[in-house]
Amino acid sequence: MQKFKNIQFGLYFSIIFFILPLIFRSNYSKYTLVWFCIYCMLAVSLRFIMLVGAVNFAHAGFMGIGAYVSAVLMMRLGLSFWITFILGALVSAIFAAFFGIITLRLKGAYFFLVSFALVEIIRVFFSSYFVDIFGGVNGLIGVPPPNGILWLHFDAGSLGLLYLIGVITVLVLFSVYLFEKSYWGKVFNCINESDNLAQSIGINILKYKVIVFIIGCFIAGVAGSLYGCTNGVITPDDFTYELSLFLLVCVVLGGMENILGTVLSVSLLVVIRELFRSAAYFEPIIWGLSLILILLFAPRGLFGLGTNIFWIAKSTFRSLRKKEINAEG
């Protein structure tokens, strides 16, 4: 039934994806597909976190942590990519655990604000502290690609690297999908709709929110390490709140209903981003404008079928206002 149809669709999509670079053999198409994958991972993990009602504006920051840790371990300690990208993601996840346990208790608006502060702090940290390790404002140049396994090469710009990233992306998306469709997904749904009701039936909402947050940031860390390898250069300005904003637009545009919506909107936005590559200041204007237009006229997202974006934090935000637990009766 529905589950299998979705998996089928995912399969077709992946097959198309893997065939594309064989048809369009240019470096440019490889480059675009790599970006598509990385953004997919980021947008889907952001949406995953938003499933429990937390709008994580620091998502780009956690990507940055993964990227920097992985790159530093490779470049300064000479460790292999296969170890460092897990370590990078782990550091990101551990940091997410600390941050999440403290801040996920807060109502949605406060969490959003604190995550905004966090992404700035992370950027400041990587540009001003430990400059000999992190490269300061100029960042790290010459991040090495993964070393090959057996006969496979993963050099920058190669087909091998593209397929590797593609496979990782598919694995990530599939895992998120499994999570969501399981009983845990229903629990997230409950937390999102009404955290009061969820608590009253025994759901420890902090525990679930933190777990989801850790997983989402772990994935962002993985995306970060992959980003480092493909780009070769990482700077603190790669991980600003503007990237978080772009990811947020992707999620909002795609609707919260399913992963497919997010993936479709990422494809659309990657195309648009490439078109506007040259107009440096125009780009964020487009994102800002699209966000406003979508929210005003299509709050369910262009591809979202039946889920209002405002549903995602109905209880955490409204209880600030509505005082569900009324000091009145």
Binding site: V187, N196, Q199, S200, I201, G202, N204, W311, A327, G329
Partner: protein
């Protein structure tokens, strides 16, 4: 079984609950009434951990619970409903009740991530239990309706079922018949009585005097967060302080 000893709750300068001491006995059907603003819902929130007491103790079977979080209190066997009808509106009625079984279903674990056959079995069992509960409230025809589409009465019944699903010892109901007409009130109160007859202790907060007086064996009256009177419905009805507090309210003159 559930004891509140000298419980107070202050919000800044406002004293919502003032030195309240109440004992709820095992298996009883207790009513909590009082004018608007008398602190009834606050008491509920204090018991269930949504608010913390400014002072005083709350004990369940001797164990102190006033510092616990809401989900821990649910685990201890205290369930509640909410004043604003709160159900999981995007889910079907059946799924709502299944979620209510969360603590007892065995699904509350890591293994439930994978769609294995044992998880499927547990899920099936949970669905059966949920169905039985819906049948108990004569709602078995409505299991697959999205809960947002249910009538007010059905939503309130669903709320009670969600709270019942975790097999609580005590059920705290916050105005379960608000917004209903006479017939609806009658049928809902009869169902609540059925629940009490199963041995589940019930604390009923209500504005509807007739409902409280007809079904509750004992009544506690609050005013300005303080206990005004306590006793059988008859005793309370004749209490001078209570009459004064409700002065002008036609409900008490039945």
């Amino acid at each position: 079984m559930l004891e509140l000893v000298d419980v107070s709750k202050r919000f800044g300068g406002l004293v919502a609950v003032d030195g309240l001491s109440v004992t709820i006995k095992n298996g009883e059907f207790l009513g909590l009434i009082g004018p608007n603003g008398s602190g009834k819902t606050t008491v509920l929130n204090l018991i269930t951990g949504f608010y913390h007491c400014s002072s005083g103790k709350i004990t369940l079977k001797g164990e102190s619970i006033e510092k616990r979080k809401p989900h821990e209190i649910a685990k201890k066997g205290i369930s509640r409903t909410f004043q604003n009808t709160t159900v999981f509106s995007e889910m079907s009625a059946l799924d709502n009740v299944v979620m209510g079984i969360h603590l007892r279903s065995g699904l509350n674990c890591l293994k439930s991530l994978l769609p294995t056959s044992s998880i499927q079995k547990i899920w099936g069992k949970a669905q059966d239990s949920a169905f039985e509960l819906l049948k108990f409230f004569e709602m078995d025809e409505k299991t697959h309706i999205k809960s947002a589409d249910l009538s007010n009465k059905d939503q309130k019944l669903l709320q009670i079922l969600i709270a019942l699903a975790s097999k609580p010892q005590i059920l705290l109901l916050d105005e379960p018949v608000a917004g209903m007409n006479y017939e609806e009130i009658e049928s809902v109160m009869k169902l609540i009585k059925k629940v009490n007859e199963l041995g589940i202790t019930i604390l009923l907060i209500e504005h509807n005097m007739k409902a409280v007086m007809s079904y509750c064996k004992r009544v506690v009256v609050l005013d300005y967060g303080r206990k005004l009177a306590e006793g059988s419905p008859e005793e309370v009805k004749q209490n001078e302080n209570v009459i004064r507090a409700y002065l002008g309210s036609p409900e008490l003159i039945t």
